[in-house]
């Protein structure tokens, strides 16, 4: 923030006479504002405009950390989906985009992208891209996408200035602009590269609120229309518009109850509601929810309430003051309200008005998601907020917020009531879910700005009165003294936190090398580009849903499930495949037409939130994903597919100096089973730090050794004498026989036989992974003897020992023992 010059506004400084002045003071006086011969008002305007320009630039450059330090790329998971859709929009046009059905995700089902996304962000980026192209700047759409969020953060500071001016005065507006520019709660979700809905949505949110408050203050239809258009932009940008459509009716209700209503409120709310509702229904994803969903009923209820309220007021005004007719009218009103309540009840009970969806209901009842919707409860962004998050995201604003509330209550008006309500409701929701700290940030900044501005104003008034008193005594004057603004000292944290935030979100991971140098793990992109370049174009990849968007965007392959999580049964099927024994998993994968499996493994790098944690250690997470299997089935973890795929060949690797091979750095233990064999999958690719491992399905890779009769030709061969089927691994021990005078023998590697099954052999593996050999019995599974000493008798042969354990505590003990000692 700029510090004003030390002259007080009434300009009563002593200026040294020009004849006796040195060059230095001459220079100083030409640089001072007074030499520009501006009036006071113009000086103030110049100061304000320059502050706003600096704040605009500051907001932008604060968010550029990762682009400057590393490279301009898109971070995390959801932004990849947004980037892919924006790319589609710019390439194919709006009509194709609006009607897009995508068959590259959710493999057998596909996804109606045109009807299930919020198009605001993509359309905004596309418009900026087309605008820049029109001006002949040859930018790539990715650069536009990466820089969209910082650009809109700068615009948010401008809106915050105007909003602050509307609520309090220009000083508060300026402070609010600065606070929003540097507040970590907002920076963390709008860095360059975080191409997500929130980047644009916070701008739209603040704009809508500002226009609405302006409409309430002026009572003008035009501002009401403006707020409806702002609301439309918000609805197109983010699902959090539900907050607006509930906060504004709540605000109107509060005003009606406290008796502060006026004609301006009627004009503002009605124009905003009717036009906003109609505009919002143009977005396909929102559809008819404004008239059918329980979350939007508050707005409609308040709409009807207002009509009745103001109609009654008008009738009362017409009649003058005839009180007994008022009593009659009161009876009529009660009947009308009763009818309305009955209609609402019938609508809700019959299911026409849908109840609050789980996503928003879990905000009102935080324990709801844990019991009923585990997939929402499992997202780390949806956890309740720790106090430390508040401290790190708001810093000093946590102390200024209550002070601002105090000032707002001292000078209550329509606008301050609004900002108080916004602040309190958003703080409640920020306490329920970490992600919603973002929604609370503008409110906290504005209210804190009020506190700062009001305090400083009081201080300066105090100082001026003191100086006026003391001026009578001395001739020194010139007491403006401290500047009329203070710099706020919370610059240090954003940079550090900013850096770790974007990097830790799995775009790539930095770490310390053995000598303390910085090492970057770029395994994700390495794996995706391997997929892109080394697999057939129609290959289907199965992975946990976290990685779906990135695989589709960077790897350009069809995925089975992705981050949209719109079909929990499909996700459960994938989870089941990951948590089954290899045979069952193979069946599931065949049914889904999977060609490749991708797992994320953190044992070498010490990255602890990998798939093993997802599927196993988060016991709840695993359990919900397999609703069909009885919990009593005691599965031996080391034979489950997820485990095998993660630790395949891991036993040969030395991960840390001084530790035995096969030491898992994420869990901190050495794995027990180092000799993992895969039956139906083969390893296709492992990245350089073992973070991403890709396996291929589709039969065992077999080398065929065969001989052809001398002189025969491949074109007319009829018989192949097969000497041996050998697994590709063992080929070296089975060399091709040398050619003789009767035949020539060949060896063909990677002879892929789809779905080979031995009809019967004298060795097999039971469900527990124990190998038995002996004669095949078609009817009985009792084999002769176990293949190795350590193997115990199987479930079929020793049913007592393998009876399922009782549920509850014993089960829990068994589980943890198995996992701990594996």
């Amino acid at each position: 923030m700029a510090v004003t010059k030390t002259e007080p506004i009434n300009g009563s400084t002593n200026k040294p006479s020009s004849s006796s002045v040195s060059m230095k003071s001459d220079l100083m006086s030409t640089l001072s504002l007074k030499s520009l011969k501006l009036k006071t008002k113009q000086q103030e305007l110049l100061i304000r405009v320059s502050i706003l320009c600096l704040v605009y630039v500051l907001a932008f450059i604060t968010r550029l950390f990762s682009v400057l330090r590393y490279e301009s790329m898109i971070h995390e998971f959801d932004p990849y989906f947004n980037y892919r859709t924006t790319l589609f929009l710019t390439e194919k046009g709006f009509y194709e985009f609006w009607n897009w059905f995508d068959s590259e995700s959710w493999y057998p089902l596909g996804r109606i992208i045109g009807g299930t996304l919020y198009p605001g962000l993509m359309v905004t980026a596309a418009i900026m891209y087309w605008g820049l192209r029109f001006l002949r700047f040859a930018v790539h759409i990715r650069e536009v996408c990466v820089l969209t969020a910082p650009f809109f953060a700068s615009n948010t500071t401008l809106v915050a200035y105007f909003f602050g001016k509307e609520i309090w005065d220009t000083g508060a507006g300026l402070v609010a602009a600065v606070l929003i520019a540097i507040c970590p709660g907002y920076i963390s979700r709008s860095v360059a590269g975080s191409y997500d809905n929130e980047g644009v949505a916070i701008f739209a949110l603040l704009l809508t609120f500002y226009l609405f408050v302006k409409a309430v203050n002026t009572g003008s239809l035009a501002w009401g229309l403006g707020s409806a258009l702002g609301y439309f932009y918000m609805v197109s940008a983010w699902g959090g518009y539900v907050f607006i459509i509930n906060l504004i009716p709540l605000y109107v209700l509060v005003l009606l109850i406290t008796g502060r209503y006026s004609m301006r409120l009627y004009v503002a709310y009605n124009s905003m509601y009717v036009l906003g509702m109609l505009l919002a229904m143009q977005i396909r994803f929102v559809g008819f929810q404004h008239v059918q969903s329980g979350e939007h009923m508050a707005a409609m209820g308040v709409f009807f309430l207002m009509q009745g309220f103001y109609f009654l007021g008008w009738v009362k005004h017409l009649l003058g003051d005839k009180k007994k007719f008022e009593a009659l009218l009161r009876i009529i009103v009660t009947c009308a309200v009763g009818v309305g309540a009955i209609a609402l009840g019938v609508g809700t009970a019959s299911g026409y008005i849908s109840p609050w969806t789980g996503r928003f209901y879990s905000l009102l009842d935080p324990t709801y998601a844990k019991d009923h919707i585990p997939i929402i409860a499992s997202v780390s962004e949806h956890q309740p907020t720790a106090w430390s998050s508040f401290m790190f995201d708001f810093h000093i604003l946590l102390f200024l917020f209550p002070a601002g509330l105090y000032f707002c209550f001292k000078r209550l008006s329509d606008a301050t009531i609004f900002i108080v309500m916004y602040g309190l409701t958003s703080m409640y929701f920020a306490g329920v879910m970490v992600r919603l700290i973002l929604v609370a940030t503008p409110a906290v900044c504005l209210i804190s700005a009020i506190a700062v501005s009001a305090t400083i104003k009081n201080l300066t008034t105090l100082l001026r009165t003191k100086s006026k008193v003391s001026q009578t005594g001395t001739t020194k004057g010139a007491s403006g003294g401290k500047g009329s603004s203070k710099a706020l000292p919370d610059q240090s944290q954003p940079f550090q936190r900013n850096g770790s935030y974007c990097i830790a979100f799995r775009c790539f991971l930095p770490a310390q090398g053995a000598h303390g140098n910085r090492v970057i793990f770029d395994d994700y992109r390495e794996a995706y580009y391997w997929l892109r370049q080394n697999t057939p174009a129609d290959a289907k990849v199965m992975s946990w849903w976290d990685y779906g968007y990135q695989i589709t965007a960077m790897g350009n392959r069809t995925v089975i499930v992705d981050n949209n999580t719109w079909n929990n049964t499909h996700i459960a099927t994938v989870g089941r495949a990951m948590s089954s024994y290899e045979d069952e998993a193979y069946e599931i994968m065949r049914s889904l037409d999977v060609n490749y499996v991708l797992v994320v493994f953190g044992g070498v790098t010490g990255y602890s939130s990998d798939d093993i944690k997802q599927v196993f250690v988060d016991g709840e997470n695993w359990r919900w994903s397999i609703p069909f299997l009885p919990i009593e089935t005691a599965k031996i973890v080391r034979f489950l597919v997820e485990y095998k795929l993660s630790y395949y060949r891991f036993g040969e690797l030395v991960t840390e100096y001084g530790k035995p091979p096969g030491y898992d750095r994420a869990r901190g233990v050495e794995i027990g089973n180092k000799d993992i064999k895969l039956e139906h999958l083969e390893e296709a690719f492992t990245t350089s730090n073992w973070i991403v491992r890709i396996y291929k399905i589709g039969g065992v890779s077999i080398a065929l050794i065969y001989c052809l009769d001398q002189g025969s030709d491949f074109r007319n061969v009829q018989w192949i004498h097969v000497l041996d089927f050998v697994s590709s691994d063992n080929l070296s021990s089975h060399p091709t026989p040398p050619p003789s005078h009767t035949n020539t023998c060949f060896q063909q590697q990677k002879f892929k036989l789809d779905h080979i099954q031995q009809s019967c052999s004298n060795s097999t593996i039971t469900a527990e992974g124990n190998k038995y050999y002996g004669e095949c019995h078609e009817k009985s599974i009792r084999f002769l003897k176990p293949a190795n000493k350590e193997a115990s008798l199987g479930r079929e042969t020793d049913s007592e020992r393998w009876a399922p354990p009782p549920q509850g505590y014993a089960l829990g003990c068994f589980w943890w023992a198995e996992i701990a000692f594996v």
């Binding site: 003008s220 258009l229 004609m263 009717v274 007719f325």
Partner: protein
């Protein structure tokens, strides 16, 4: 109680009528417009109740255009009414221009939504 109520109702209606007659004719025109819009909305709802709501977007757009223009006309009436102290400085042409602008946006959206 019944007779007293009906007498009260009659007196009420009479006094309402006499008070309403005193309003300026420009406001009466706006009231007529509002009444007409609400009436056509009611007709559409009754028709929907008979025939079913199949193209729901068409039904919504029809009803909401009537309700919307009624509400905007009420806002216009509020702004133009000389008795409202808050809008004393607002020239009625400005209010009417706002009204026309909002109606324009409303009907543009309706045309898109009609399907």
């Amino acid at each position: 109680m019944g007779r007293a109520t009906s007498k009260d109702a009659q007196a009420l209606i009479h006094s309402l009528r006499s008070a309403y007659a005193a309003t300026p004719s420009s406001l009466k025109i706006i009231d007529l417009y509002v009444g007409f819009a609400v009436f056509s909305a009611i007709i559409q709802v009754v028709y929907m109740a008979i025939v079913g709501s199949f193209p729901f977007n068409s039904f919504l757009s029809g009803v909401l255009s009537c309700i919307g223009t009624a509400v905007l006309a009420v806002c216009l009436r509020i702004q133009v009414n000389k008795e409202n102290k808050e809008f004393k400085d607002l020239p009625s042409e400005h209010a009417f221009a706002d009204f026309v602008l909002c109606n324009l946006v409303l009907h543009l959206v309706i045309m898109n939504f009609l399907g």
